[in-house]
């Protein structure tokens, strides 16, 4: 079991309250995912030419000021926002160059994500604790993709928590389990895609991300995925300007959407949507199996 939550704000005036609106949704899925949690939040942030990199130090005691100085030496002008064992660096650097540099210069730091508009947080613990740790309630932005995890197929570590990311500004969370992640991983590795964990969701994330890199649009990538990804899944996907959901052909894992003029809210269950303002008059529906639903930031 796991919980998925997504929220896209249609009304720009609400964007400063993205975290506050999302928080009860995220915590509301604690019973479905008590062991880990995470989210990707999208906003209009990085100056042109720059990227934002989410870094995570876990249990390691990291001197972030020293890291910031190293980043400046290696990549030039940069800023850093430090939040406990998590930091966001904004700098003009290619994702591959940053990944390689971090692995060599600071192997105790994990690079969680790269992008122009996406920040990423994930950790182990109860969703409420994680939200408190990183101040999820204060997040601002256009849309958010969140996940609460109850691990069934691979270890409980921060790296195994969702969301998983690929390239710039692409993230994915998953409720369900895949039966062929090792095959998917092996075939992708032959095509030069590298993996961080043995998690099944990472295989789905890298498969779809790779297809997008190869020129597919999301609809085409997901349609191909129906014959490649075997198992149960409700996938919630974030890109720079899109929030999307798709369910496997058997609709084994739940999902419900509440849409109003102000927002699109998605969750595994209605109970985590119940605190949203105006939800009582929202259009509620369950996504049909094998159909991709997408909403764009306006």
């Amino acid at each position: 079991m796991c919980g998925i939550v997504g929220l896209l704000l249609k009304r720009p005036a609400l964007r400063p309250a993205l975290g506050e609106l999302m928080l009860p949704m995220f915590i509301g899925m604690t019973e479905r995912g008590p062991d880990s949690g995470g989210l990707a939040v999208y906003g209009d942030r990085a100056a042109s030419g720059e990227r934002r990199f989410s870094l995570y130090a876990g249990e390691s005691a990291v001197d972030w000021d020293a890291v910031a100085a190293d980043v400046r030496t290696r990549f030039g002008q940069s800023t850093i926002e430090i939040n406990g064992n998590h930091a966001i660096v904004e700098v003009n650097a290619a994702p591959e160059a940053m990944a390689q540099w971090i692995a060599e210069a600071h192997p105790d730091i994990a690079l969680l994500s790269a992008g122009r508009t996406m920040d990423l947080y994930k950790d182990i613990g109860a969703p409420g604790e994680i939200a408190e740790r990183y101040g999820f309630g204060r997040l601002r932005g256009t849309h958010v993709v969140g996940h609460t995890r109850m691990a069934t197929e691979s270890a409980v570590t921060p790296a195994h928590a969702h969301p998983f990311t690929f390239g710039d500004d692409f993230c994915l969370v998953h409720n369900g389990s895949l039966s062929n992640p090792n095959n998917v991983r092996r075939e992708l590795e032959h095509q030069g895609v590298s993996f961080v964990t043995d998690n099944d969701t990472e295989a789905a994330c890298r498969y779809l991300g790779h297809r997008l890199n190869e020129g597919d649009d999301l609809e085409t990538a997901v349609t191909r995925g129906f014959s490649v990804l075997d198992g149960f899944y409700t996938l919630l996907i974030g890109t720079r300007d899109t929030l999307a959901i798709v369910r496997d052909p058997f609709a084994c894992k739940p999902a419900i959407v509440a849409e109003t003029d102000d927002y699109v809210a998605i969750s595994s269950e209605y109970r985590s949507l119940a605190a949203l303002p105006g939800v009582e008059s929202a259009r509620l529906f369950e996504p049909r199996p094998r159909q991709l639903y997408q909403w764009r930031v306006q």
Partner: protein, 223 residues
């Protein structure tokens, strides 16, 4: 008697309903998608639920009349034996699964696997049903006023399906069959009880071809 699930627990509600002598009429407010609302009731009470419910609402119901003014999550009225459950919105997957009796009415759509392995319940869906509905259904009736998804009635036993709209595909061993006078009478009565104004003549009957009833050693065994 009123239970407000914003301040009271589902356990308190269900313990009351299972208690010695619950009121003849019980109202539940702020269900907000809670699981297991009004499960295992075994007395003839009217339960009015004002909002959406989560997993397994009205499961194993006997005798009670449960009215849900909202949508229902997975496994609605699973294992019901008697009584009546009415959902004013839509129902998620596996509504009425494995239920032995009673009447389940869903005003909106029902998702996949509606009536899976039903064993005597009558289900009337005002909207459409998803794929694999009435899979291995053994007894009872599934009435679909809208359309049916793929593999309707796959591996049917003796349950009977009436569909008004289109059928995406029939499952293995399910076949369209002629409507008899008995079918018209039964369907008319069910539609009337459920509060739908459709004519029985607008429906088609789907039943079992009974070719899977006996093991056929000469068959290719490719089902």
């Amino acid at each position: 008697m009123n239970f407000d699930l914003a301040s009271q627990s589902v356990r308190e509600l269900n313990a009351y309903l299972h208690g010695a002598a619950p009121d003849a009429s019980v109202t539940v407010t702020s269900p907000n998608g809670a699981h297991n609302v009004a499960v295992g009731v075994n007395v003839p009470v009217n339960i009015d639920i004002q909002g959406h419910v989560g997993y397994y609402a009205a499961g194993m119901n006997q005798l009670a009349k449960i009215d849900i003014h909202g949508n229902a999550g997975p496994g609605l009225a699973e294992g019901m034996c008697s009584g009546e459950v009415h959902v004013r919105g839509f129902a998620s997957v596996a509504a009425g699964a494995a239920a032995h009796g009673g009447l389940l009415v869903i005003d909106g759509d029902a998702s996949l696997r509606c009536g899976i392995s039903m064993k005597g319940i009558d289900i009337v869906v005002g909207g459409s049903v998803g794929d694999y509905s009435a899979f291995m259904a053994q007894a009872g009736h599934l009435v679909v006023c809208g359309d049916a998804g793929d593999a309707l009635g796959d591996s049917l036993y003796e349950a009977v399906i009436y569909v008004k709209g289109s059928v995406a595909s029939l499952g293995a061993d399910a076949q369209e069959q002629a409507m008899t006078d008995d079918d018209h009478a039964r369907l008319t009565a069910l539609l009337q009880r459920a509060g739908f104004a459709h004519e029985s003549h607008a429906f088609r009957r789907v039943g079992s071809a009974r070719t899977l009833y006996h093991w056929n050693a000469d068959a290719e065994q490719e089902y």
